[in-house]
């Protein structure tokens, strides 16, 4: 070959050579673990260039543990609203003075209290976190403000078709009594009583089962600090397994609901119950899901957004639940094209059942997923989030490596087999809320 002037050989139609992402050797940076005096485990990722960190306390205090709707969520929401020594204002002011964020979230199995802070301020903040989990008093006045404002927020949510559809589809799949399927009503807020909140708090927080996750630039005496403030408390290590509830899916499969007579779009949800991560089909189906509706270049996006322009976005995903889960398709589409959209979704399912995915598309999805995971393993907070998901699902790092292996090797035949098993219209609940 003869060397020519660079400018004359720049062929813009030709893609530069790439390193195939499937060749990336992805490694999950291991955590450091220690156990506090009371047996509570602490998982740490010590990394990062900025002087910031997070400490998360995960309690087994999600809505699976409540006897009455919303008790778990209310306790979690009101954790920062007063102790015997400090008012809600004083607690907030303390964390905010140090520029830190103390957030709480309530899920199905777990509920969290999460601190993000500049690492240098940790010693000022841990004592007050301890106070919050040992000495919260849930003042009546705070409960009443919480009820009133939650009901108002709910009233606004109920005007939105996507919010309404999200609640209903979960109820169809799991049943309204199931922790994954139940939702809030104004009357449930009214019915909350202080003593129920206090009892739940004592049992599931002050004396609860707990795991800690820390990430970021961690101080060298972290163990000492955490043990001083949390290791002497009557907390317990996490349960070996959490309770699994029986799902009671609805009998009727198709729903059309009118929520707002002036609505110009419909919220579409299709869903079917799906097994959890331990099921042998799970990883193969997550790959199929990506191809079907899990990224911008997916079949659903390409057809329904990029070809037909029916929607701003359409996605499919498998919910991140522990015991059982659901496979969903979700979009907001123009009122007049909702039915056409559903029809196209079913057509895409049919294509996946009948035709083998060609090698190029499969290769693209493999590379895309690998690149995504590579980027997702970047930074201490992302790493701990991945570990947390593994640990809270009672898995270990072999699951991570298995899922990488699956991305690299799952075959077109296996994907078609999965499509024939799961992507069948009759398996799906079908809901449109306008």
């Amino acid at each position: 070959m003869i060397a020519t002037n660079k400018a004359t050989i720049l062929d813009r139609t030709k893609a530069p050579a790439i390193k195939d992402a499937v060749e990336f050797d992805l490694k999950l940076k291991p955590y450091e673990k220690f156990v506090l005096d009371n047996g509570v485990p602490v998982y740490n990722i010590n990394a990062g260039a900025e002087e910031v960190m997070m400490v998360e306390l995960v309690f087994f205090a999600g809505n699976s543990y409540e006897q009455k709707n919303l008790v778990a969520a209310a306790v979690n929401a009101l954790l920062k609203n007063g102790t015997t020594k400090k008012t809600a204002f004083q607690i907030n002011n303390h964390f905010e003075y140090y520029g830190s964020y103390l957030n709480r979230n309530c899920y199905n199995e777990t509920a969290t209290l999460t601190l993000h802070t500049l690492s240098k301020h940790l010693p000022e903040l841990l004592p007050v976190m301890q106070e919050i989990i040992t000495d919260s008093i849930f003042p009546e006045e705070e409960i009443s403000i919480f009820k009133q404002n939650s009901k108002q927020r709910l009233a606004v949510g109920l005007k939105k078709c996507d919010f309404v559809a999200g609640r209903l589809i979960d109820a169809y799949v799991y049943g309204e009594q199931h922790p994954y399927g139940k939702y809030s009503n104004a009357e449930d807020y009214d019915a909350l009583k202080r003593n129920e909140l206090v009892d739940f708090y004592k049992k599931y927080y002050s004396n609860g089962q707990c795991i800690l996750f820390c990430a970021g630039k961690l101080p060298p005496n972290l163990y000492q600090q955490l043990n001083d403030y949390f290791g002497k408390l009557p907390l317990q290590p996490p349960p070996a397994e959490t309770t699994s509830f029986i799902i009671t899916p609805a009998e009727q499969k198709k729903y059309r609901i009118s929520n707002d007579p002036d609505g110009v779009q419909g919220a579409i949800r299709l869903a079917q119950p799906f097994p959890n991560r331990l099921h042998p089909d799970f990883l193969k189906c997550s790959m199929l899901n990506t191809l079907f509706g899990g990224y911008f270049g997916s079949r659903l996006m390409s057809n329904i957004r990029e070809e037909k322009g029916y929607t701003y976005g359409i996605h499919s995903y498998i919910q991140n639940h522990v015991h059982q889960t659901a496979w969903l398709i979700s979009t907001e589409a123009g009122k007049d094209v909702c039915e056409a959209t559903i029809e196209e979704v079913y057509k895409e399912m049919q294509l996946l059942r009948e035709d083998l995915v060609d090698e190029e598309e499969l290769h693209l999805v493999r590379n895309y997923m690998m690149g995504l995971i590579l980027g997702d393993l970047d930074g201490p907070f992302q790493l701990i989030a991945r570990w947390k998901n593994i640990i809270l699902n009672n898995l270990d790092e072999t699951y991570f490596y298995k899922s990488i292996q699956n991305i690299k090797t799952v075959s077109a035949e296996q994907l078609r087999e999965m499509a024939n098993k799961y992507l069948l219209p009759e398996r799906f609940y079908e809901l449109v809320v306008i």
Binding site: V264, H363, F381
Partner: protein, 413 residues
Amino acid sequence: MIQYERFVLANGLRVLVHEDTSTPMAVMNIMYDVGSRDEEPERTGFAHLFEHLMFGGSINIPQYDEPLQMAGGENNAYTTNDLTNYYITIPADNLETAFWLESDRMLSLAFSEKSLDVQRKVVCEEFKEHYLNKPYGDVWHKLREMIYQKHPYRWMTIGKELSHIENAKLEDVKKFFFKHYRPVNAILVVAGNITVARVKELAEKWFGDIPSGEKYERNLPQEPRQTAPRRLEVKANVPLDAFYKCWHIYSRLDQRYYTADLISEVLSGGGSSRLYQSLVKEKQLFSNIDCYHFGTVDKGLLCIDGKLVKGVKMEDAEKAVEEELQKIKNEKVSEEELQKVKNKTESMMAFEDMSVMNRANSLAFYELLGDANLMNTELSKYQQVTADDILKESRIIFDEANSNTLYYYSSNN
């Protein structure tokens, strides 16, 4: 301190490089100096529609997304009133794919009729999803028209009305592209696990021969000083009454911008902020209340908005807000309170800077403002704000003659 190197190609493209070897990834961020403020009043929403069209194929590459995904990359974009930004994250080994794709669409789009046709529909659905089919979705539409009489911040990025988007022609698309999407109006930032030398070589190779284009000279109508209060009342099918009040503030490069930012933090920005404590917790007039501003390049807005507790009269709610404003206008904030909002700002910046993508994005934005190094002096500008500044600026900003009030009533009451 964020380290970077800056050079300019012969065609005027500004390039900034920020090395960070702790990540396996690279980020490419391209910011174009055009936003919805540069649109004509009869063709609003165009800058944003155009952003969608940038993904419809370029002159030599029919598909933008596929080769990127094949290289393990991901991308997105956004349009604001001020600018349009495109960004890619990709395994650093495959950075050249990003150069190839971005340079080709800066060279020229494919200008496909089909793409325009589909993206018009997609953007109309986006319009509906966010602004028509949501309770309170039209608020900013109404507020902007009241607040800005002349300046093009008068309309939202999504556009004034659906018809402006529906009527967009391929001819307009071409003109817009060759006016704004030229190297001389763009900033390229490459960050992550890369070297300056490699970026220099790739930038020359892929962007070097793109015609420079003409520098876009912005000449926007300036907003005259507001001299009398403006008020508007609306009734709509929403569950709760809502209160909105906005005041004109300063441009992004004005030192008083930092004072205004801290004022908004004193008033709202956490469970210990003044408006929340007084109006949600103590007086229980609002179920939520926020004070915020838009960090726009030209003179921006400070806004307070909240939903009223059912049964509370709008006038009483406004009076209570006014009492809080009187306090900040009449009494200096304590040193402790001032320190708190500065600490919060410091911490927020540290968390933002954790991500390479945020760093690349910020570098591009500050370069657009005139000097990328502003990124490194930002914190000290907040540190310089005094309690006296807050007192003085509160009096100027919260002048009734500078205010715009919207009573958004629920028709269900």
